[in-house]
């Protein structure tokens, strides 16, 4: 409990920083900075982008998940991996790949295309997991009661997956609100890009004022998602016996659907990788080529592993608190942590620097631990989602049995609870690692002097138009991130179907 509250307090640091800065600038000043026509145009750009991309991701993510989980699509297990791996490609690499392909890819349409391709796996993963866990019997009953295939899909299948779709959409929307690199490359202005510009002209108060608007937007998104979740039970009463599910025959639609999958993978995976390879060969004669590639990869791996560990460790107590002691306050607490996801990395980094220089005698300033802390704060919600899913599935009765047998709380936690939630911990670890590998903006601020990561090096070269030198860094990022994203795909793929969690390692 106390640990969970401490975690939440750490997560609140960025918000505390924003409010302090805004208060320093004065309420009327902040209001003037917000109440301008520039804000209106940024708001229009940000909102329309978020809405369009979220809808597209919902459609693509749900359809691909349905195809993999419920139809006789050929090569399902291969597609199940291929459609997840794009998540491992940093958004700025996707936009670099696409924008170097055609001038059509720029501005609003470019942003829609690139972001959809970069983040639809956030919908695919939970939807695929929920379709897998849901009872296909309900579909059969609906069919037997005379419902058409289409209406069965809309009324039963989508109903079963509704929460997963909404949860995925929530993540997509929040991630888009905080995105920077991709939009800078595409020349599309949103709140976040403007926050960067303002910070770049050394005006933190404006940057903070705009960040507060951004947080307002993400609160709207969160409330909207909560409201549309609604009631409605999608579970069934007893675990029952699972039988092999009759997959829907695609029949004549098989070929077009296969082509659809191939095009999606080509667009999301082929284009960024292909253009990186192209630039390695086509790049300028001055290419110094990867002397720093190895050291950057080492730094990236080190910081990201650290962040994965810390964020997962932070997520566990909060997940336990929320699941074991459900209640309105705890629920609200959990939802609030999602706000962090919509905060640009820059803001989190500034907050940490601020507290370090102002209140901690520059303790840890520009050192690895603070960078790891920033990553952990930024990606905490992702870790929480994974750990929480596993905690919810692990029966509290086992802990109670341990307690009744005289095992004290901490040993019980280590010996009973942890093994039960191990799959969720593994997934959280992978997801945070993956996100940290591709992180750019907080890294630029907090990275130790003389160190560099793959992302900062890619960015430096890309910014310099040294595409030939940037490309190898993009490829190494993809290579490093592909491993955990594969593991992650497998995790969701193997999510226990019903009832007792079949966590590996339950038997010790």
């Amino acid at each position: 409990m106390a640990v969970a509250l401490l975690v939440v307090a750490v997560l609140a640091l960025p918000l505390a920083f924003l409010l302090t800065e805004a208060a320093g600038a004065g309420a009327s000043n902040v209001w003037h900075l917000i109440w301008r026509s520039l804000t209106a145009s940024l708001l229009w750009n940000t909102v329309r982008l978020t809405v369009v991309v979220t809808v597209l991701c919902a459609v693509i993510g749900t359809l691909t998940a349905y195809g993999v989980e419920r139809t006789d699509l050929p090569g399902r297990s291969v597609w199940a991996v291929l459609v997840v791996v794009p998540f491992a490609i940093p958004d700025f690499v996707v936009s670099f790949g696409w924008s170097s392909l055609s001038t059509w890819v720029q501005g609003f349409r470019g942003a829609v295309l690139v972001m959809t391709l970069a983040v639809y796996p956030l919908v695919y993963l939970p939807v695929a997991a929920s379709l897998r866990g849901a009872d296909p019997g309900q579909e059969e009953i609906a069919r037997s009661l005379g419902a058409s295939r289409l209406s069965t899909f809309f009324r039963i299948t989508l109903g079963q997956a509704r929460r997963a779709i909404l949860g995925g959409c929530l993540l997509v929307a929040l991630v888009i609100l905080a995105e920077y690199g991709a939009f800078e490359i595409l020349g599309f202005q949103t709140f976040t890009t403007e926050i960067f510009t303002q910070f770049n002209i050394a005006d933190t108060s404006v940057a903070c004022a705009l960040s507060l608007v951004l947080i307002g937007l993400s609160i709207v998104v969160l409330v909207g998602e909560s409201a549309s979740r609604g009631g409605g039970r999608v579970s069934r009463t007893g675990p029952g016996a699972q039988r092999v599910l009759a997959r829907r025959r695609l029949g004549r639609a098989r070929l077009p659907i296969l082509i659809g999958y191939a095009l999606l993978v080509l667009a999301a995976l082929g284009v960024p990788i292909g253009s990186s390879v192209y630039w390695i060969f086509e790049g300028g004669a001055h290419s110094l080529m990867g002397a720093s590639l190895g050291s950057a990869a080492l730094h990236t791996a080190g910081y990201s592993l650290g962040a994965a560990l810390v964020a997962t460790a932070m997520a566990l107590p909060v997940a336990l608190l929320v699941s074991r002691h459900p209640g309105r306050v705890h629920r609200l607490l959990e939802r609030t942590t999602f706000l962090v996801l919509a905060m640009p990395g820059l803001v989190v980094a500034l907050a940490i620097s601020y507290f370090s220089t102002k209140y901690a005698n520059s303790f840890g300033y520009q050192t690895a631990p603070l960078l790891v802390l920033a990553y952990s704060i930024m990606f905490f919600p992702l870790a929480l989602v994974c750990v929480r899913a596993s905690v919810a599935q692990s029966p509290v009765s086992l802990e109670e049995v341990a307690g009744s047998l005289g095992v004290r709380r901490l040993p019980a936690l280590l010996r009973v609870t942890l093994p039960l939630v191990a799959p969720g911990i593994g997934a959280a670890f992978c997801l945070v690692f993956l996100s940290a590998v591709t992180e750019l903006t907080a890294t630029l601020i907090l990275i130790p002097t003389n160190a560099e990561t793959l992302a900062t090096q890619f960015w430096a070269y890309q910014q310099n138009l040294s595409y030939g030198q940037a490309a190898p860094f993009a490829l190494v990022i993809i290579a490093i991130a592909a491993v955990p994203s594969y593991v992650l795909g497998r995790f969701f793929d193997r999510l226990p179907r019903r009832g007792l969690a079949q966590a590996p390692g339950v038997v010790t």
């Binding site: 110094l288 690895a368 430096a460 138009l465």
Partner: protein
């Protein structure tokens, strides 16, 4: 349970890697290390630093970011700033620090290497290299003869939808300051409104994006510094170049010389080593590195001329506005904010 132990083992390993690799700029066996906040182009600085380390045995820990970010950081860090030297692309970033009394005086012998008009008027930073603002255009979209030749013409309604510029870019603010200085506030504001309308959606975050966009035919022409075009040509190959550059008429307020310079922080505990680094930047050796580098900046000290095939420095005819008049850029930012470009 074993899986979990593995996880912990990996994590511990990771943390120790992270700890080991976090290159701390502390000194080893009495060797001095200075920390450089570098807003200049990474490759040029790398070459300069490598030569300096070899010549003096002093280590330089380099941190790369935008000069404005460094300004904000240095102010926030105060007396505890880890930085010894700041090397910026434009004079306003240095003037800003000088205005806050954060820079230490530069050795006279170092200042003497650079023509006085390119140094800090107060002697707190030294000019190292220079660039000049130009137009980059795509001949497939606009004829050279149709291009504006004076900065005020950028606001002409006939260029609607054809102009690109980067209001947040530190290279653009000197142009605004220069227009303000020559024509006054009313005209400057009207001009900014005009170019804002003309740019429409083509407001970019930086000069590199403008160069790439014009070269690819997304927009007809834009305001950049000359060297971005040369760098782009060097990086992507002459075969991929579909753009050219054009100069404003001599002494037009849009034709601005931007000075890149370096200063030493008052809070630095390595004043002597930092002074040596600045002296090296403007020495013949340092200037030759700049002259031959692919940054395509003009060396301005020790009489060195650029080795690259671009318009020679002494043939440029920029507006006579000087670094003191360019100031900290605060006036330009205020105007840009007033017309809601920032």
């Amino acid at each position: 349970m074993r899986g979990l132990l593995n996880l912990v083992a990996i994590a511990v390993l990771a943390l120790s890697v992270a700890a080991c690799t976090s290159g701390s700029p502390s000194t080893a066996s009495g060797q001095v290390t200075i920390t450089l906040y570098n807003g200049q182009h990474v490759q040029t600085t790398e070459a300069l630093v490598a030569a300096f380390e070899k010549a003096t045995g002093i280590n330089v820990a380099v941190r790369n970011d935008d000069e404005d970010v460094f300004d904000a950081e240095i102010v926030a860090e105060g007396q505890r700033s880890p930085a010894d030297v700041i090397f910026s692309e434009n004079s306003p970033a240095l003037e800003y620090l000088q205005g806050r009394d954060l820079l230490a005086p530069v050795d006279r012998s170092t200042l003497a290497r650079t023509p006085g008009k390119y140094n800090s008027p107060e002697g707190d930073w030294v000019g190292v290299s220079a660039r000049v603002s130009v137009l980059i255009y795509n001949p497939g979209l606009i004829y050279k003869s149709a291009l504006p030749t004076r900065v005020l013409e950028l606001a002409d309604p006939r260029y609607k939808g054809e102009l690109a510029f980067a209001p947040g870019e530190t290279d653009f603010q000197p142009v605004v300051t220069s227009v303000l200085r020559t024509y006054g506030k009313a005209t400057a504001l009207k001009w900014l409104d005009g170019i804002k309308t003309n740019a429409g959606g083509h407001v970019y975050p930086d000069n590199e994006s403008i160069s790439a966009a014009v070269n690819r035919g997304i927009v007809a022409f834009g305001v950049v510094n000359q060297y971005y075009w040369y760098r782009m040509r060097a990086e992507i190959g002459a075969g991929n170049i579909h753009s050219r550059i054009a100069y404003f008429v001599p002494r037009d307020p849009g034709y601005v010389l931007d000075i890149s310079g370096a200063g030493i922080l008052k809070s630095s505990k390595h004043q002597a080593a930092a002074q040596r680094f600045l002296a090296f930047l403007v020495s013949e050796k340092g200037q030759e590195i700049i002259a031959h580098s692919i940054s395509f900046e003009y060396p301005i000290a020790s009489g060195v001329q650029t080795a690259q095939s671009e318009t020679p420095f002494d043939e440029l005819e920029p507006d006579p506005v000087d670094v003191g008049e360019l100031g900290t850029g605060a006036q330009a930012i205020a105007l840009l904010r007033y017309v809601q470009l920032l």
